[in-house]
């Protein structure tokens, strides 16, 4: 018995020594992580993200090393990520656009679930309720990062030229503005039916729905799309706006076309996120103002949606998982969010606005603070990308009189 006890103790000693050595090796081994993103190079966030990664690597020298990869072609990176996910081999960490195609991979085991990690202090770093927007069935397989609060942009040079001194607050004021602007030889709104999602017109539609149905207008959209009168009423308003008060190239127009109309000073009102501010020169920024969509039933509803997410490849290696979490916690600190906000971005993380922010950045922050609620993009709520694509198709038909607003809604319902 004594011999057996000694043998057992020796075996235990050898095993513990072996495991201790192993764990020491694994803890000593530097974890290499690749972070694939379009926030590199000449992207407005590029220098700040590079700085954060550099600081992190210095602070974790010998333990974790993050390598930044990618180009500033957001669509190209999205395609790359989707291809890698399709092949079952996503990058360690990546930024991704929150499109239905990406959310489709929530069903797979390819993405790391942060739900448990966010229950602690880390979750508190994010603005209230925002993490819920990237949580599906209790799984948070991506983090909200860059937010897209989308106000209406008014070219006050055009409005002032027709005798309007403040942004319209009611629909009557809005239609009056459209009439005056059109008579003066401008176009009232920048719209489009082309691209994969008819981006600008889809944003206008979202704003109209928010103003008619409030922040919760899309809460049950997948079930009540074909029956809720809000969507038909919104379609009627959008149809009038596009048929009478926009550029003649609207059908089939893509985002660069609609952008150029606003940037070129041809259109009075435009909808886009804060990331586009840098495209306006200082003079235009000075005469641009942000506003809410005019009140129909609900006042001051702002489109607020996740613009880009952070996600990571699922891994069975605990050291790698811990390293990923460590990096993402660091990346989403208030201090680093403030740094990235230098690029004009609005983030899902809580932070104090910079004192030296531009006029428009402060203007936007004011709208965010005043907003009575946020409504997500229609395209993020309605379903898969074939349903989203149907929006532009049906809108083109409605503008040309081939569909009524009711039929517009019904045609989209047929694809759902």
């Amino acid at each position: 018995m004594k011999k057996l006890t000694i043998a057992f103790l020796m075996l235990a000693l050898v095993l513990s020594f072996t495991f201790a050595q192993g764990s020491s090796e694994s803890s000593n081994k530097e974890v290499e992580l690749k972070f694939v993103t379009w926030w590199t190079g000449t992207d407005t966030k590029g220098p700040y993200v590079e700085q954060i990664v550099k600081d992190f690597n210095e602070a974790h020298a010998g333990k974790i090393h993050v390598t930044l990869e990618g180009t500033n072609d957001a669509d190209g990176i999205f395609t790359q990520i989707m291809t890698q996910l399709g092949a079952g081999n996503p990058p360690d960490i990546f930024s991704v656009k929150p499109q239905a195609e990406f959310y489709g991979y929530y069903d797979s085991n390819l993405l790391m679930d942060f739900a448990a990690d966010l229950k602690g202090e880390w979750g508190g770093q994010f603005a209230e309720g925002i993490v819920a927007s990237t949580t599906i069935n209790g799984e948070t397989k991506s983090l909200p990062y860059e937010m897209a609060y989308v106000p209406i942009w008014y070219n006050m040079d055009i409005l002032n030229a027709v005798g309007i001194t403040k942004a319209p607050e009611t629909m009557d004021e809005f239609w009056a503005m459209c009439e005056k602007v059109t008579k003066a030889g401008y176009y009232a709104t920048a719209q489009m039916t082309g691209g994969t999602n008819a981006w600008f017109s889809m944003l206008w539609y979202t704003s109209i729905c928010g103003s008619i149905g409030g922040a919760g207008a899309f809460d049950n959209i997948k079930n009540d799309w074909a029956t809720n009168p809000v969507y038909v009423q919104a379609a009627e308003i959008l149809c009038k706006m596009v048929r009478e008060y926009t550029t003649p190239d609207v059908i089939g127009a893509t985002a660069p076309v609609a952008n150029s109309h606003f940037k070129g000073g041809e259109t009075a009102a435009y909808l886009n996120g804060p990331w586009w501010i840098a495209n306006l020169d200082d003079a235009r920024q000075a005469t641009t103002e942000f506003a809410f969509f005019p009140t129909i039933n609900y006042k001051d509803v702002l489109i607020g949606s996740v613009q880009s997410n952070l996600a990571a490849a699922n891994t069975k290696d605990p050291a790698k998982r811990a390293a990923v979490i460590e990096f993402l916690k660091y990346f989403t600190t208030a201090q680093n969010a403030q740094l990235v906000s230098n690029a004009g971005s609005v983030l899902a993380v809580k932070y104090e606005p910079l004192a030296n922010s531009s006029k428009l950045a402060k203007d936007l922050q004011a709208r965010i603070n005043e907003a009575s609620g946020f409504i997500a993009y229609w395209e993020n709520c309605i379903g898969t990308s074939d349903v989203v694509a149907e929006f532009g198709q049906a809108l083109a038909a409605m503008i040309q009189g081939a569909l009524t607003p009711q039929q517009f809604v019904a045609q989209i319902a047929n694809v759902m």
Partner: protein, 293 residues
């Protein structure tokens, strides 16, 4: 070689012959047979996203053929196939026959007509978007000279979009022209000399000498054009995305939309339909054209 001799040779060398055929057979099986069977098999399931697939019979097909957008797409593919086969190929043939007479500058024209074939489709699409632009487009500017500019949005108007997309494609006949031209140059000049001695003019020479001699290559060109028409995707996707309201939709763009939505089974049922319809149509046309008088 007589059949007996061939059989004897095969019996003597069958191992070597099979060994040489094996790589091609494996690659063909791996990259053609296997994907086709996978597409056909999965089209009979409810596969989408990462959900487990279940057998669904012909449900995808019955839904597909009830879908008005898909029916529009089939109609458009037939239009594409027939326009390319019976408008583009004849234009290519006419140009090839003219150039084969070697008029002044024929080498330059041959290069000019072929050049678009090697230019990126995306670049060409951007150019045509500029041509068709309702406000700044070249087409409306030219019509303006004749006071006929109504500000038509050629790619956006539901009445003009399909014609606009097809017309721009018809211009790119250079590929077929080169094939037919090469075949035309292969016709022995003595046949034309004999025809001339018999009193045939140029027109009669082309009708009675050139066309019969070019028949095999014309059948090939028509087959290729129809195949392209049935799987057409690129310029429609780039110019209109299948819009407005699906008037330019093709089976290819519709398939792309479904696959982009991770609706794999629906997408694969469209893919299978393209293969079947295209195969049947091309076989019928080939059999009609190949029929001897």
């Amino acid at each position: 070689m007589s059949r007996n001799l061939a059989e004897r040779k095969f019996n003597r060398n069958w191992k070597g012959i099979l060994l040489f055929l094996l790589p091609a057979f494996v690659l063909y099986g791996l990259f053609f047979i296997y994907p086709i069977f996978t597409v056909i098999f999965t089209s009979l399931t409810d596969w989408s996203n990462f959900r487990t697939m279940h057998f669904a019979g012909f449900k995808n097909y019955s839904n597909l053929f009830k879908n008005p957008t898909f029916l529009k797409a089939i109609r458009n593919n037939f239009i594409w196939a027939f326009v390319l086969a019976f408008v583009q190929v004849p234009i290519a043939m006419t140009m090839a026959l003219v150039l084969a007479r070697k008029p002044k500058g024929w080498k330059l024209f041959r290069t000019v007509y072929f050049l678009p074939t090697v230019i990126s489709g995306s670049a060409l699409a951007m150019m045509w978007k500029a041509v068709y632009n309702p406000t700044n487009g070249v087409l409306n500017a030219i019509l303006g000279i004749f006071s006929a500019n109504n500000g038509t949005n050629w790619l956006g108007d539901m009445n003009t979009a399909l014609v606009a997309v097809i017309v721009q494609q018809v211009f790119y006949f250079g590929y077929f022209m080169v094939i037919i031209f090469a075949s035309r140059l292969g016709i022995d000049d003595t046949m034309y000399e004999a025809a001339m001695i018999d009193g045939a003019n140029v027109w009669q020479q082309e009708i009675h000498v050139t066309l019969p001699m070019l028949k095999p290559v014309l059948i090939t060109a028509i087959t290729l054009a129809m195949a392209y028409g049935f799987r057409h995707f690129e310029s429609t996707y780039l110019l209109t995305g299948g819009g407005p309201n699906h008037v330019t939709e093709t089976m290819g763009t519709f398939l792309y939309t479904k696959l982009s939505s991770a609706k794999w089974a629906e997408g694969n049922s469209i893919g299978t339909t393209i293969i079947l319809l295209g195969g049947i149509m091309i076989s019928v046309i080939r059999s009609v054209l190949s029929r001897e008088k």
